[in-house]
Assembly symmetry: C2
Homo-oligomer: 385 residues x 2
């Protein structure tokens, strides 16, 4: 059953309130948010217009009260449909002052002169505004200082609410159905680029709002990497085809892949696929509150790469939600404690005797009792087309 779109205002109020508690602990008088997921997390402002790099967008989260949107006027109509009431706009792009005075005035209004303003500055973050403007902002705010945001938004986003989980569940169910229809679109002689186009079409037909991510590969005995766009090379009998999609429903992603053999698989391919499923199942069995992320890494790596410490991919899975990939990373160095409400991908990979690779991926939810597959867990037997 498809959940409702959007969130009730209470969800945004709760997120804001939790952030303000953490801000107080961290000694922050305000947060300055500049990226799509940060702005959306506190407002519900959902638009594909971020694809345009022209205009900066700002959200100011004060120590008390609701967030303040400082945005280009083109976005005011849509922002007024969210729970945000304090919306300040300028007509962007403005070559002389692209929202900077408005932003500085807003930050001065809500922070004391000795206040600290937090911005995301750690791994997986960036500042979505021109660097020269950021430097001007820092100067304009003196004696206020811009400092690290203590990863407050990141910490909050790590654990998903029931409403968020319902959206991710919807996205994964759509992709499950699309993957089941791949026999309609893939057979020897069809160019891989055509398969990619058709697979995106299947995702849309099954209910995706849009398909921000599709990668994959095809070749005898595996593929060369997992991030390439498609070429026009035709599929051939004996190829392994892999499709990895991040489709979106109401702003939330799934991220998992499926492998297919065109015709009966070679023994190497059959064995590799079974090994990947074993590894995924081992990590799934370890995944429960109280375990740590590195436990999942070792559960998989002990099977796919015994004695080895890593691979080119750099990790064996990651968080998932408003973005295709979120923290944490499933690597030996990550000791994040699993909690109910975390959504993760398990993504082991193997190198085949011929030098090609195969990668498998599932999406899971950490529950009170252990874990639950959101994507449909696969059989050890690779799907045969």
């Amino acid at each position: 059953m498809t959940p409702p779109r959007g969130f009730p205002p209470e969800e945004f109020r709760a997120r804001t309130s939790r952030a303000q508690t953490l801000m107080q602990e961290a000694g922050l008088a305000a947060l300055l948010l500049t990226t799509e997921p940060e702005v959306r997390y506190y407002t519900g402002y959902l638009t594909r217009f971020w694809e345009s790099p022209t205009r900066p967008w700002f959200l100011v989260l004060p120590a008390a009260g609701g967030p303040i949107a400082v945005i280009p006027s083109i976005g005011a109509h849509l922002m007024r449909q969210t729970w945000i009431t304090d919306i300040r706009t300028w007509q962007a792009p403005d070559y002389a002052d692209d929202g900077l005075t408005l932003l500085a005035d807003t930050l001065r209004e809500v922070t004391p002169p000795d206040g600290q303003i937090g911005v995301a500055d750690q791994m997986e973050s960036h500042l979505r505004m021109p660097l020269a403007d950021f430097r001007r902002l820092e100067a304009a705010l003196v004696p206020r200082r811009i400092v690290s945001d203590a990863q407050i938004t990141r910490r909050l986003r790590l654990v998903k609410s029931a409403a968020e989980i319902a959206k991710i569940r919807t996205a994964t169910a759509i992709a499950n159905r699309a993957f089941d229809r791949v026999p309609e679109i893939a057979r020897p002689g069809i160019p891989l680029a055509q398969v990619f186009r058709d697979f995106q079409r299947l995702c849309l037909e099954e209910g995706a709002d849009w398909v921000p991510y599709l990668a994959g590969g095809a070749g005898p005995g595996g593929y060369g990497d997992v991030i390439s766009p498609a070429t026009d090379a035709p599929l051939a009998a004996g190829d392994v085809l892999m499709l990895d999609t991040g489709l979106v429903w109401d702003g939330y992603f799934c991220d998992f892949d499926r492998n297919y053999s065109l015709g009966p698989p070679s023994q190497d391919v059959a064995d590799a696929h079974a090994l990947l499923i074993d590894a995924t199942a081992a990590a799934f069995a370890r995944a429960r509150p109280g375990a740590r992320i590195h436990d999942l890494f070792h559960a998989m790596n002990d099977i796919t790469n015994p004695g080895g410490s890593g691979s080119d991919a750099g990790r064996l899975g990651h968080g998932l939600g408003m973005q295709l990939t979120e923290w944490p990373s499933i690597i030996p160095q990550d000791d994040t404690l699993l909690e109910p409400g975390m959504v993760l991908t398990l993504e082991p990979g193997v190198t085949l005797p011929g030098g090609q690779i195969m990668v498998h991926e599932e999406d899971i939810l950490i529950t009170e009792a252990g874990a639950e597959y959101l994507s449909a867990p696969q059989s050890p037997d690779i799907r045969v087309l």
Copy 2:
């Protein structure tokens, strides 16, 4: 006829060489590039994997010789398929040192101690790496200084090569065909969200590699904005439906919209559409080498908004190419001189008597002789479904 994918290595060599000439003029010993279009412009590295925010990617352009890729190992296989030969990798994500030492070493190797390293820091730019890492990098490079990139990449990208134009032309032709098929998917009773899904499907069927952008609206007498995602509200007789797509072919965008009336249009809607087409035609007639961007603004604004100076949209069109929107912005303050090879959108808007808006958009190429429509120019009569 579909052009070949990719570019010959000579194109990348020419881009690199032109950048190096401008670097010498600007006193820059190297450029540091961090965003998708910047890295792709000099390398041809095309992947949707940038959707994942986890890993930073770096390209260093030295004063002489080819660019150096400093990238996560997951991208090495794909980068090796480009013309880049100097590829330095680390296993990302690395919580202790996420490529920073490798990047600093590379920059020190190719720049003298008193050298200046340019990064994009002006409008429409951002630095795609964690701010804390950037600050560490600045400290590690002393006495070298990181300064503005003199907008070198932006200046080069403003004028498209014949091969780039062929890709944009292909993208616009695909969208033309998809827009012609809208009667298949839109009629009263169909939810707007379904129309959005189906329209993306049509774009794929007509040859789009992917559809990074679709916005639009529907309502009696126009719509509220041009950046909203779809709702599940059904179309109704008398609605104006607008679809605005940025689809991609081989890494290049189109960006234009079409308006449709569900049933015969009201006089207000008919008049508004005719006015938008008049305004577009007036700007098109002014568009030729030697004219300036603000001439196009006034040509449109004098018709849609006589005596007025702007609108919520903030501009009446923009550049187009590797990104959905590029510089320049068609605003009164932009005095960029038009040159053959520039690709622009003309995007006038009007407010209807009922307070709703309508926007029209076409894509044009500046030629030696004047301008050429890349999208199929529309009749003053709004399309009727």
